[in-house]
């Protein structure tokens, strides 16, 4: 990994990536009287991988939806720095611009690949869709790029005309990743990306993700209940419980020396494995 340890933002600064990519400030979401997530603030720098960790019901998915424009927060602000350097409040942008952002500069990898793929069109079209959406009108080039990306995610090029219905769970998830990365996004959200996979293929998937994230210098926000996933992929971690962030820090440090009692419990439970 490119990002050195021990740096919460300052490290990125030393590497000339001194400005936050995404800033989340005081984000809360309520479902009626019930708290989804409360008063969450953080910044994410280019190329940084942040894991949001918690059990189900901790509010991590609500938070992910709030910061990825999939659900408007009840209060709080989320700003994003565009390629041209301008910083915009995501919820004050028009819907057209927001959707454009989501299929160009962002990616979203769902736990269930069927939620992120078109199951009835070929793998090549799944990968090529974003290119066509941004105006690519050359069939040969689309196919070439799609072939390239299939290879990068370890899908044989001769499967390009097969539909994901014919793929295994692991292949589908890799296809979903290729579909997201084809436009060279700067920020990718991942919701339990290995959660639906057999344990036997999880390790390979994590390896692949780790390599891609490092090679492409992607910023990633990954939601997981699995501390092993967080340990392998992330630079920084946020632990959530009952809708609130209870601990945050560099992944290595946090796992070595958890401060909150709840985090200690979580860590001790996986480290025994």
């Amino acid at each position: 990994m490119q990002i050195p340890n021990g740096l919460d933002g300052q490290g990125a600064e030393r590497h000339g990536r001194d400005k936050p990519l995404l800033s989340v400030s005081g984000v809360s979401h309520y479902y009626g009287d019930r708290i989804g997530c409360r008063n969450v603030s953080f910044t994410l720098y280019p190329g940084e991988v942040l894991a949001i960790v918690g059990e189900s019901g901790s509010g991590k998915t609500t938070l992910l939806n709030c910061i990825s424009t999939r659900m408007e927060p009840t209060t709080g602000e989320v700003t994003y720095r565009f390629r041209d350097g301008s910083v915009k409040n995501l919820y004050r942008m028009g819907e057209a611009e927001r959707r454009f952002l989501m299929r160009t500069d962002w990616g979203f990898v769902h736990q269930n690949p069927a939620d992120g793929l078109r199951m009835t069109v070929s793998a090549g079209a799944n990968v090529g869709e974003r290119l066509m959406a941004v105006g690519e009108r050359h069939y040969g080039r689309i196919r070439e790029t799609a072939t390239d990306w299939l290879t990068k995610v370890e899908i044989a090029a001769d499967r390009i005309d097969d539909q994901p219905r014919a793929f295994s769970g692991g292949m589908r998830q890799r296809l979903q990743i290729a579909r997201n990365l084809v436009t060279h996004p700067r920020l990718v959200f991942m919701d339990e990306p290995t959660g639906g996979l057999d344990v036997s293929v999880q390790a390979r998937m994590l390896d692949l993700l780790r390599g891609l994230v490092a090679d492409l210098g992607l910023a990633v926000i990954i939601v997981t209940h699995d501390l092993a996933v967080a340990r392998l992929l992330s630079h920084r971690m946020m632990v959530m419980k009952d809708g609130e962030v209870i601990e945050t820090g560099l992944t290595d440090q946090l796992l070595d020396d958890p401060q909150a009692a709840y985090t200690q419990l979580l860590v001790s439970s996986i480290l025994q494995v």
Binding site: R99, G124, M132, D161
Partner: protein
């Protein structure tokens, strides 16, 4: 279609009541104002089953006046059951003059074809449409397809064409071939053959589309740009026919295959029967004036 003369006598001019016609006309005006945009309308029950062109019939009923001359075609022909029924329906309910001649008609209702003879200013072409939504085949949610139209997110249309090429080596879509209207809305000319797509572009006549079951009306005003979607390396092409029409010798027109006998005998001739007959009529009169025997 069974129409009881006695029953119809009680109906308003062109069957629909004036309030319904006004409602449909408002939808038509909106459709003309936003070329290619699908305008919802409260489709009425018509005395014929869906699939018989109830959308087109309602549009025609709303725009037709006593002075109009109506032509109705189905697959290019004036003589199919569907075309004859609709023509009779308006003869009875509106008492309008009908014709099979493209040049004489002021309103032409059609399913599947655009006449070969160029349309003129002042003419209205009314299409019967079964499925108006071009995005539906990949995105069944209507809330989403509406949003895609609103935000001009048309990547999916090219996904369909991509799949076509990946499967067949070329764009194999021959009917309902998607077009972009006036550089903005993607529209389904369904179910006309793509052969007719170029005729929609910059057409002098007003083109109206009515989908009865789907409750949508859309329009292409005269002289509007209509572009068929394609790829740079797989450009849009119309179907070419190897031979001319076996009856009138016309080239560059849309041909139907006719089975002549059960021994495999067949011939290709104009799908636009009026066009074919007029050409043969002209040829005869030319021959006659030259004193030749045909």
């Amino acid at each position: 279609m069974t129409l009881q003369d006695t029953g119809l006598a009680a109906y308003n001019f062109a069957y629909l009541d004036e309030q319904t016609k006004r409602m449909i006309r408002r939808a038509i005006l909106k459709a003309i104002a936003i070329p290619g945009y699908q305008v919802p309308f409260a489709s009425r029950e018509m005395p014929m089953p869906y699939g018989w062109g109830t959308g087109g019939v309602q549009v025609t009923a709303s725009i037709i006046g006593p002075e109009d001359v109506l032509k109705v075609i189905d697959q290019g022909s004036d003589d199919t059951t569907n075309a004859v029924s609709i023509r009779k329906f308006f003869e009875k309910t509106a008492g309008v003059e009908t014709t099979t001649r493209t040049g004489e008609a002021t309103v032409i209702q059609t399913r599947h074809r655009i006449p070969e003879a160029p349309l003129k200013e002042g003419q209205v072409l009314v299409y019967q449409v079964p499925i108006p939504e071009p995005l539906r085949f990949l995105e069944p949610r209507e809330t989403e397809t509406r949003k895609m139209h609103a935000l001009e997110e048309y990547g999916l249309m090219h996904v369909k064409l991509y799949e076509d090429i990946a499967r067949n080596g070329h764009i194999a879509t021959t009917y309902a071939y998607p077009v972009k209207v006036e550089g903005r809305y993607v529209m389904d000319p369904s179910p006309t053959p793509k052969f007719d797509n170029p005729k929609m572009d910059n057409c002098a006549a007003l083109q109206l589309f009515g989908a009865g079951r789907e409750k949508r009306i859309y329009a292409i005003p005269p002289y509007t740009s209509v572009v068929s979607l394609d790829f740079e390396d797989h450009p849009f092409e119309v179907n070419r026919f190897e031979q001319p029409c076996a009856l009138c010798g016309a080239e560059g027109v849309y041909l139907d295959e006719m089975i002549l006998d059960d021994k495999g005998g067949r011939m290709f001739c104009c799908s636009d029967t009026d066009f074919c007959e007029e050409r043969r009529g002209e040829a005869e009169s030319v021959s006659a004036s030259n004193g030749e025997i045909v």
